[in-house]
């Protein structure tokens, strides 16, 4: 999604930027009322047809994606603390091959959206998602990610991230423990393993 400012931002005053940003957020909100369908067709996907070459090539490709899943930093609220815990020494994300949280979406495959998403932040979440290269996966962490959680009825909170981006795996909990998040990452791995890449 492109944010349409009339003039380059560097030419505007701060008040004008505030007004235009409000307009952008309002239009974003009216444009995102129904949730994206979950990309969950892999769950009941058909078995791979027999074919030694294609299956083994696919296996290698999926294996390389499986073990080099780099997450983009997207900690929004308290869930991010648990996410950091998971990346640090005790739970040690590096053994899944997810060594570094990338600061740039251009280098990342997985977006762990951790925390409460407000409508003011939502356009930028979408922007970060759009900047990520294909193939990409999204993991909604916490109660706020799945449904808006405690703040579901608030005027400013997005009730569920699937209004903004298609979400692959939801992690319930407020906040979820690092083990729960790791389980979700293993679900993403399972999805990657079962993805049919090559056309038949």
């Amino acid at each position: 999604m492109e944010l349409n400012f009339e003039k380059p931002l560097s030419l505007l005053t701060l008040d004008e930027i505030d007004q235009q940003e409000g307009g952008v957020i309002q239009s974003f909100r009216t444009g995102h009322t129904s949730p994206y369908p979950d990309p969950a067709d892999w769950l009941n996907g058909e078995e791979p047809p027999p074919g030694v070459f294609i299956t083994s090539v696919e296996k290698v490709l999926n294996w390389s994606r499986h073990y080099s899943l780099w997450p983009v930093m997207f900690g929004l609220a308290c869930c991010a603390i648990e996410m950091m815990c998971m990346a640090a020494s005790r739970w040690d994300l590096a053994r899944f091959g997810m060594d570094i949280f990338r600061a740039s979406p251009r280098q990342a495959d997985l977006m762990i959206v951790a925390g409460t998403l407000t409508w003011k932040m939502a356009p930028w979440l979408k922007r970060i998602y759009d900047q990520m290269p294909e193939p990409k996966w999204v993991l909604a962490m916490g109660a706020c990610g799945t449904s808006g959680g405690l703040f579901r009825d608030s005027y400013s909170v997005v009730p569920g991230f699937n209004l903004v981006v298609p979400v692959d795996v939801y992690v319930p909990g407020c906040p979820p423990r690092p083990e729960a998040l790791m389980r979700a990452i293993m679900d993403i791995h399972e999805k990657i393993d079962k993805t049919r890449i090559l056309k038949r």
Binding site: M1, E2, R127, I128, I197, K199
Partner: protein
């Protein structure tokens, strides 16, 4: 004689091969349909990541930070020398002590000069 330079040619060949593979592999994977191609304006823009800058990007810093940076460099170097010396102070003896002391005096002179000039005062 000229054979000695063949290593450099080997390096050149390796560098060219590496660059070609790294640049060509994504193109090949895209051609084969392994990497899905779903371009959008944001993805194609040259801006690396995140939000574009708000307001003017020419931010001015107070020039007094310059003094602090200079002092920091001087004392950084001093500390880099002091720590290894301090861990081995017993075995290095008086000669090393004298040298470090002289070095300390030189930096101290600079410190006193900066102090006298008022570089440590913010106003």
């Amino acid at each position: 004689m000229l054979v000695d330079y063949s290593y450099i040619a080997l390096f050149l060949v390796a560098a060219i091969l590496f660059t070609a593979v790294v640049l060509g592999l994504p193109v090949l994977l895209k051609k084969l349909g392994i990497v899905p191609s779903k371009p959008n304006p944001v993805k194609n823009s040259a801006y690396e990541c995140g939000v574009e800058t708000h307001g003017r990007t020419w931010v001015q810093f107070n020039f007094r930070y310059y003094y602090y940076a200079l002092l920091l460099i001087a004392f950084d170097v001093l500390l880099v020398f002091l720590f290894p010396w301090a861990t081995q102070i017993g075995s290095l003896g008086f000669y090393a002590f004298g040298i470090v002391f002289a070095f300390l005096l030189i930096v101290l002179a600079g410190y006193l000069y900066a102090w006298k000039k008022g570089a440590l005062e913010w106003n």
